[in-house]
């Protein structure tokens, strides 16, 4: 039995009435990978934030290498050998790799930076663990996979013996994820211990020895990876059985009707060429690592970003770059950032329900809002799309993320649009809301809508998209309906050579 390096006992944390962590006790052995599995909001992030000293627990204690860790102090967590790789990297984009690694490690009153020694030490660490990165490269020029390596190097340089990785594969291509798993094996062999946070079952099973499942702030089970299954973990994580929505093939031989056609589209600098057609009754998936121009494509398809080149046609009609024109052409739009673009949080739910149509005769006459009609419309959306709230007069921001997304989806779908543009519609939602939204998109597809689904989650695309095209470096690939995971991964990384320079 390898020695214990970390022991959490009875960690409890409350936010108001919400118990984010309820008496969680866990331990971690030397050279072990422990996976923390749970849905969004299960309490994973709270737990590691307590461990790292960002939050102070209401009760419970943390022991690292046999010594009690003072609460609420990231500096002592670092000193005790805990390193954290956040999901959203904490790197200075305009600094070199070496500068990023050195940042904060030197004394402020030391007159010169000891860069030569630092460089040698960094080179030694990256050789030892097989983490090749050019120390002089600017972080802005690195790919996402490389940036993650820099984050890991940063932690190792500070002498971390316990590494926490928060959703490390969320931003990686499948090939980059494989490379990360190989790195984790090297680290383990050297005796480091790793806490690996994820909600993806396959990779949790592949990479860890033990799996701790959190649900609604409680530790519901600890399983040996060798002795469990995906089905069991899924049920533990959600607390009930989850059935994936079923998709039926619509086109088999008959000629498709084109509802949306995009030709030679370029916009916003980052989108350089996109040409595709979306058919009636189809979900057209767009895959890609974030930052490859999907945001610009989505903005152009929502009428927010004027194309610098090319055109967007709905049916035969060319649509000008104006959100109102797109709504008028019966394009339902679901933006990526639901909290700050999808809704106006301070306005009431009913005011958000009509924000795309408030000038239409149904909701306004002679400059006066028809409040009753607007509230009735909101009520229709709330009932039809199962939006849970304290009533349509409550501010939109008072709802949970899943309900906000249902409101946005409802606003987009309530008038049966012929085209739907959905950008990351399920990002960060719990399994129940995800399956609801997939169900609604599939229902719209069955009704004959043409749907563009932009997503970074390959599982989602494989589950509900009919054809998938890949964005890389501002260019959209041919759409195919027969991708394998390996092929699409290669394509997301720019063709034959994986994991190099995906980011402009």
């Amino acid at each position: 039995m390898p020695p214990l390096v970390l022991r959490l006992s009875g960690i409890t944390k409350r936010f108001g009435a919400l118990v984010a962590n309820d008496a969680i006790s866990l331990d971690l052995a030397s050279g072990e990978v422990l996976a923390l599995l749970g849905e969004n909001g299960a309490g994973k992030s709270t737990l590691v934030n307590i461990l790292f000293g960002h939050y102070v627990a209401d009760a419970g204690a943390i022991e690292v290498f046999g010594k009690l860790l003072p609460p609420g102090d990231p500096a002592s967590a670092l000193a005790a050998g805990i390193g954290m790789v956040h999901q959203h990297f904490t790197l200075g984009d305009n600094l070199s790799v070496l500068d990023n690694v050195l940042l904060g490690t030197e004394k402020l009153w030391q007159p010169f930076s000891r860069r030569r020694e630092a460089r040698a030490r960094l080179a030694q660490i990256s050789r030892q663990f097989g983490l090749a990165v050019d120390a002089n490269a600017r972080v802005a020029d690195l790919s996402v996979g490389e940036r993650q390596r820099v984050e890991i190097l940063k932690a190792l340089y500070r002498g971390a013996r316990i590494l926490i990785l928060d959703e490390p594969t969320a931003v990686l291509t499948p090939q980059e994820s494989e490379a990360l798993f190989a790195t984790l094996k090297t680290l383990m062999a050297d005796g480091l211990s790793i806490i690996f946070i994820s909600h993806k079952l396959d990779e949790v099973l592949a990479v860890s020895q033990r799996i701790a499942v959190l649900r609604q702030g409680k530790l519901v089970a600890i399983r040996d990876s060798a002795a469990t299954s995906k089905a069991e973990l899924a049920e533990l994580m959600v607390g009930r059985r989850v059935d994936a929505p079923v998709r039926t093939t619509i086109y088999s031989g008959t000629a498709p009707e084109v509802l949306l056609s995009v030709r030679d589209l370029a916009a916003g600098g980052k989108l350089t060429r996109a040409t595709f057609e979306v058919w009636r009754g189809e979900i057209f998936g767009i895959a890609g690592v974030s930052g490859n121009g999907q945001a610009q494509l989505a903005d152009a398809l929502c009428g927010l970003l004027p194309p610098t080149q090319g055109e967007i046609r709905v049916g035969l009609q060319r649509i000008p770059a104006d959100p109102h024109a797109f709504v008028h052409a019966r394009v339902g739009r679901v933006p990526e950032d639901r909290g700050s673009v999808g809704i106006i949080g301070d306005l009431a739910i009913w005011e958000n329900a009509i924000s795309e149509r408030y000038r239409e005769p149904g909701f306004a006459r002679g400059g006066w809002l028809k409040r009753e009609a607007a509230k009735a419309q909101a009520q229709r959306i709330v009932e039809r799309f199962d939006v849970r709230s304290a009533g349509v007069d409550a501010p939109a921001k008072s709802m949970s993320g899943g309900n906000i997304q249902k409101l946005i989806l409802g606003r987009a779908l309530v008038n049966h649009p012929q085209i739907i543009i959905a950008n990351q519609p399920t990002w960060g939602l719990d399994v129940g809301a995800v399956s609801y939204i997939h169900g609604e998109l599939l229902a719209a597809r069955a009704r004959g809508a043409a749907i563009v689904l932009i997503s970074e989650d390959l599982d989602e695309l494989f589950a509900i998209a009919d054809r998938i095209a890949v964005m890389f470096h501002g260019v959209l690939s041919e759409a195919r309906d027969d991708w394998t995971v390996t092929q699409i991964g290669l394509s997301m990384a720019g063709g034959a050579q994986p994991a190099h320079a995906q980011l402009a």
């Binding site: 927010l304 106006i344 795309e356 408030y358 400059g367 006066w368």
Partner: protein
């Protein structure tokens, strides 16, 4: 350090109505308590000073008349700021717009244009409002087109406007009969606003200001324009996504804000002085900012806040004469009440916890 100030704010799920209503009164009480220290420091008896302050602001017909006369331009500049701030257009230039509005009123009302008064009167008001609005065209366009910060442009345009007025009063619009004082020609007597109360200076401008506050309250809550202004102010990105013409709304808001401040200038010329001088406004434009904030940007709240501030200014004058407390106390009370009002509003919305 970490343990000294370990307090946390938790949003209340619902703000109790009693708390929301009580918070301004608690804030005023707290302000008077704090400022009592200053009165003592100035060597005056606190209760007598405050009694004098209240009496000379609200204690007699004459006092109320003076307070309401002062409140009239303050309501309008307060509305000007409240409207603009609600849409996140930070117009700090109400002072300059007020002076340009006054200049516009004098240009029409004091001119030799041979039109009958019933035609000239609306023209005079329109000219003043247009002059105030015009001053905001450039800041509004610079903000929406080029992303230039409107706080800087509107603030600096105050000086441009004042110097321009100064130039006009020393030049083309100078009253040559005014013994060399830089003072404009008077407007025609039949264009002056009627008085509301006998033996007081309260004029029709007060009715106009209060009516506009009511109108703006209705506009805010019930019209598409109010909806657009609130949406743009609360979240411009989401408003743009929804198809609300953010830039146009911003420009409309700016014009409305400038026109309201311009109207304050018209009122001062036509309702009170009859002509324009460079010391016509003791900072009504800047006070408008404070009044808008005190009112929580609510148009009806602006009326109350303006009367409160006007009462303090009027009251502090008499108090200072009677017990020798500097008139600056009025400024201090206004400032402290703004701070405590903001704190009170926050405490109503959040619960403070020490851990």
């Amino acid at each position: 350090m970490r343990n000294l100030l370990n307090l946390r704010l938790e949003a209340r799920p619902r703000v109790p109505l009693a708390m929301a209503l009580a918070s301004p009164f608690v804030a005023v009480a707290f302000t008077l308590l704090v400022c009592a220290g200053l009165v003592v420091w100035a060597g005056a008896p606190v209760t007598r000073a405050y009694a004098l302050l209240f009496e000379s602001a609200f204690g007699s017909r004459f006092a109320i008349g003076e307070t309401l006369t002062r409140a009239t331009p303050l309501i309008l500049t307060g509305l000007s700021c409240a409207v603009a701030f609600r849409a996140h257009f930070y117009n700090i230039g109400a002072e300059g717009q007020l002076y340009l509005g006054a200049l516009g009123a004098v240009a029409v009302g004091g001119s030799a244009i041979a039109l009958p008064a019933p035609i000239l009167f609306p023209l005079m008001i329109a000219a003043g409002m247009a002059a105030g609005a015009l001053l905001l065209v450039v800041p509004a366009l610079a903000k929406t087109r080029l992303g230039v910060d409107e706080v800087v442009t509107t603030l600096l345009l105050n000086f441009v406007a004042l110097l321009f007025v100064s130039m006009m009063l020393d030049g083309p619009m100078k009253d040559t009969t005014a013994m060399g004082w830089p003072q404009s020609v008077p407007i025609r007597p039949e264009l002056e606003f009627g008085k509301l109360l006998e033996r007081s200076r309260v004029h029709v401008g007060l009715i106009i200001a209060v009516a506009l506050a009511l109108a703006l309250w209705v506009v805010n809550a019930r019209t598409t324009l109010g909806y657009e202004m609130r949406a743009v102010g609360a979240n411009a990105r989401a408003a743009r996504f929804a198809g609300i013409p953010v830039d146009t709304v911003m420009l409309k808001t700016a014009l409305l804000s400038g026109a309201l401040a311009g109207l304050a200038g018209v009122g001062e010329v036509a309702g009170r002085a009859g002509y324009l001088t460079l010391d016509m406004s003791p900072g009504y434009g800047y006070s408008g900012i404070v009044i808008a904030m005190l009112a929580g940007l609510n148009p009806l709240g602006v009326v109350l806040a303006a009367v409160f501030v006007a009462g303090l200014i009027v009251g502090a004058d008499s108090m200072s004469r009677a017990v020798g407390v500097p008139t600056y106390l009025a400024d201090v009370i206004v400032a402290v009440s703004l701070l405590s009002m903001l704190f009170a509003a926050m405490l109503a919305r959040y619960r403070v916890r020490w851990s």
